[in-house]
Symmetry: C2
Subunit: 615 residues, 2 copies
């Protein structure tokens, strides 16, 4: 009877010690907690965060009635590990969930042994409810009910159609709506409204007992399906921003419904509300490549630049925590567990967590944050932040705000105080700082020697001492021909700054070796990434000249049809020659249009080359 | 004023010649035509076609009020070319659309020059309406309005979510609902009801003029989204059959609404109704691998066996065409254009078509069909049917009802009179018939010498004269170990009957070369088809023995990580040895579970091998 005795104990404690003025409404019991966690919402995508094209009066009001953070982070740049971190107070590595979970029936997710916010609150006598998205596993142990929620309503697999509640990542096309583990059908009903209604019902049903509600709003995650009212409101805005912004206003309107309910029930002042986005806005194809806005920040979903992880975050506890505050201090979503535990006077957390109780800094914004450092690791990328210094290993910029050079930017250093945009890499300027932060990272339990970037692969290329010049137009973005003869092979990322790209058209270059040399072969190395409409070079032609004017002895080669190819690898097309020459003219052909069966069928395909190798 | 004069001419003709009893209602004008074309409906998936687990009273009644065909075909086993053939009266090759169209905005489909049923009827003074699925192109020229329809309501890209009307084949997630080329939103409204309402409105709006309505019902194509009423009805049926059957009843109910409308408007007897499915039921992953039923027929969607192309087909023209007839004669969907033109007394069709006017055989079922032969070509597969003989080149059985041997079954002959199931290949029994039909096919304008199967690739394998025995359990289906040393490489289709497969577990074989031989290498050739959860062999170990008991000199090899691989190819894993031995033990390992990121992540992966090559 642990449950009851806790309630009673707290009840009496409060009765005995609180002054009369606090004895109204629910003030005799522990505060309720609502954690609103939105999905793929960009770093400044709220009116109160500076998005003057977005109408979000209710969330802006929430910020006014509490603290709005400008340096609040999530511990991962994608959904599942971000949520795992939020719910466990641990880095994803310690929560044992570092990537998105599978949609397969019965597949595992957040391990049962992990201790969640729901379990913490439940063990402290709270009712615990989950409304909305789950995405933390498909077996019973990792389900909402298995992870400490008494009540759950929502979808389990990551994203759904908001009307049919089908999960469409790939086949089979699966209906994905559950209430306490039982499949339920609400055909055609708008999920944001269903979830809003369930959240409101939950609050009403539990108004007389302390409750913890995890309200995981599945917007503005694709598919972009705002209501007609908000589509109309943004009808003069360009797509996909219009639908995205309309989706944010669709969220905001429903937050308003919830706030009205709390007010009407008289429990607004006894309810702590946290609002946060799970990761940056999506630049995926399913999201039309964007729609969101990270403002001054570089990066988006899946990136460890600020835009992927530094997100709209609000805490509001009317009449109990400061109001109308903009707090610029460092905080992570893993800190909510100990912070809430303190604010709610819960029993000591028995499990080991990575989060830090920041309630002092929230109660008194002038007090410095106790979080001085933070760690991130997602795929190849990693980050250590210490104070205002941030070091990224193998950075990835899904927002494509600037170029990244594989070699020079493999370690990317910023001082966030001075350059919040992370556009200029300070690594070469402050090698000692890089060294220091690298050590800090390596001292972290999940920082390993093999995470530290090594030198780029150098290759032998007769052309490295020569010059190169394009004799056709280059793409406006991927146009630095010198990269083609720098003797370095980049990593397989067309946006890494090591690649020359062209869409639909061919490219032609003339290489001057500076003197007549014996040439055995000429090769072109190209990238394969059909998801980004990038196909390997299809044909190549070389010819030679001693004067750079008259070219002859032309040889060509065509890519073998049916040649095996895999994504995110490179392929070399080689012409063997036996020739002494000073100038080489190289014509490189892509496949033209995307092939049949490809989503881009009939539209121009890309090719990317990173080195023309003369041997 | 072509339009008006035609109407007037016909009006007077009818007035002058028809007897008084035909002068009621609309009998003074040309008959209306409604072509109902369903989507992925299996060959027997209606009560009247023998599916006793399906409730379809309205369509069954339609069959009673007309002719139900048992040998009616569509000219292609997938959506777009089947529709192109229906609408042009031409084989897909002549309609210039042989595969499914792209979903890309602006991409082409059915060429503008093609003359459609809609253009034919429009030029004969009819109102022309399209309701439902299009899937014949995304540019203006190939749009419904561009192809002769005065009115169009529906989705353009092939399949949609029935509540949000989003196309989800892959990203971006696109809303896909249009009325006369203009995007329209009916958020959350059930598309089958929207389409049914639009069809009923169309009929009501045009009750006083002749109309042609192409009612392209998008069911039971996935996503399986029947109404709750029908889900409940089939609640004791196993999935996915339950949802599929419920979807058919959902169709049937709406056909009932339309028939009631025709009755109430008094135009039932002046309306010719054709009902047909566009291709066999789907066995795709998105359809949970099935749900439909082809009864006695082999094959399903994408296959040229009967199950893919021989489909439920009804024509009903009450009081004008025979009723309660089951017609067993040969007919193709390309025949509807000339047949309807005759029944409706339209002007002569000016374009060259492949269809044959079969109105005589429909008016008098005792009269023999004028269609004696038919041709199909889809991908590598092709068919010629002449009389009751059917020859398939490179058959593919998407229903997996039986095995196909690449070599023996590359030409598959059936006598449909005697074996409608096409389970026994008569090609070797009737070589003269094969020869004759091959000649008929080659005489067809789209039958080419390179379509005729050549001999299977033979390879040198020291083991071909030996014997092989599995020392581990084999899969219950893919278990003929002798195929592994037959010296033939099959084509890259795990179901071709040339492959040994295993799921999750490893395989081990012992080959007896019959005498001690010098062995240079042992290779295993495996298939790559991750869509079917098939991954290349990951590791292999060989050991040798002279007595078949004591094995030693074990050598092993592991697949290179990050090795390039592409779908539907094969990969060889080789161990080089230099050894004289009689017995070889070969252990073959798959990857175990499907890798992270794959939809089957964490679940057993398959591998398929087709030859163990000893050199």
């Amino acid at each position: 009877m642990h449950f009851t005795s806790n309630i009673l104990k707290n009840y009496f404690t409060v009765i005995l010690f609180l002054s009369g003025s606090f004895l109204f409404a629910q003030s005799h019991k522990k505060p309720n907690v609502i954690v609103i966690y939105t999905d793929d919402q960009g770093a400044i995508d709220l009116g109160c965060y500076g998005a003057d094209d977005i109408y979000s009066p209710n969330i802006d009001k929430l910020a006014k009635e509490g603290t709005r953070f400008t340096q609040a982070y999530v511990a991962a740049p994608v959904c599942a590990p971000s949520r795992a971190a939020l719910l466990t107070g641990r880095y994803p590595q310690n929560a044992e969930l570092t990537g998105n979970t599978s949609a397969e029936e019965g597949s595992s997710g957040l391990p049962a042994e992990q201790h969640t916010l729901a379990e913490l609150f439940r063990d402290n006598g709270y009712a615990t409810g989950h409304i909305g998205k789950w995405h933390l596993g498909m077996n019973e142990a990792s389900s909402p009910n298995g992870q400490g929620f008494d009540y759950s309503f929502g979808h389990l697999r990551g994203c759904i159609d908001n009307y049919s509640h089908f999960f469409y990542w790939e086949g089979p096309n699966i209906h994905d709506l559950y209430e306490n583990g039982k499949e339920v059908f609400y055909d055609g009903q708008y999920f944001p409204d269903l979830a809003s209604d369930k959240a409101i019902d939950y609050v009403k049903d539990h108004k007389d007992e302390p409750f913890f509600m995890y309200y995981a709003i599945n917007m503005p995650h694709y598919p972009y399906q705002p209501t007609q009212k908000w589509r109309d409101y943004y009808k003069n805005v360009e797509q996909p921003r219009a639908d995205y912004a309309a989706f944010i206003s669709t969220i905001d309107e429903r937050i308003g419904f919830l706030m009205d309910t709390l007010e009407n029930l008289g429990i607004r002042e006894n309810t702590i509300i946290i609002y946060q986005s799970d990761n940056g806005y999506s630049t995926e194809t399913r999201a039309f490549g964007g729609g969101g806005n990270a403002g001054p920040y570089r990066g988006a979903k899946s990136s460890l630049f600020e835009g992927g992880i530094r997100l709209p975050t609000i805490i509001s506890w009317k009449n109990n925590l400061p109001e109308n505050v903009v707090n610029n201090q460092f905080l992570m979503n893993i800190d909510w567990m100990p912070t809430l535990a303190n604010l709610c006077k819960l029993n000591k957390i028995e499990t080991q967590i990575d989060g830090i109780d920041l309630s002092k800094m929230i109660e008194n914004p002038k007090k410095a944050t106790e979080r001085n450092s933070g760690f991130w690791k997602y795929g190849k990328q990693w980050v250590v932040r210490k104070g205002n210094w941030k070091l990224i290993g193998f950075p990835k910029d899904t927002s494509n705000k600037g170029e990244l050079n594989l070699e020079e930017d493999a370690l990317f250093l910023s001082n966030l105080d001075e350059d919040v945009s992370e556009m200029v890499n300070l690594a070469s300027k402050y090698p000692e700082k890089v060294k220091e932060l690298t050590q800090v990272f390596l001292a972290w339990e999940h920082g390993h020697e093999e995470d530290i970037p090594k030198k780029v692969e150098r290759i032998t290329n007769l052309a490295t001492n020569g010059t190169i010049k394009a004799s056709t137009g280059l793409h406006q973005k991927y146009n630095d021909a010198n990269l083609l003869i720098d003797g370095k092979l980049g990593y397989t990322d067309y946006a890494s700054g090591q690649w020359i790209g062209q869409e639909g058209k061919n490219l032609e270059f003339i290489i001057d070796l500076n003197s007549i040399k014996t040439i055995k072969s000429v090769s072109v190395n190209s990238l394969i990434n059909s998801g980004n409409w990038i196909f390997p070079v299809n044909a190549m032609e070389v010819s030679f000249s001693d004067d750079g004017v008259k070219f002859n002895s032309s040889k060509d080669v065509k890519r073998e049809e049916n040649k095996t190819k895999t994504e995110n690898t490179t392929e070399k097309l080689t012409i063997n020659v036996d020739k002494s020459s000073r100038f080489i003219k190289i014509k490189v052909e892509g496949i033209g249009n995307c092939p049949k069966g490809h989503p881009g069928a009939g539209f121009p395909a890309w090719f990317f080359i990173d080195e023309i190798i003369v041997e």
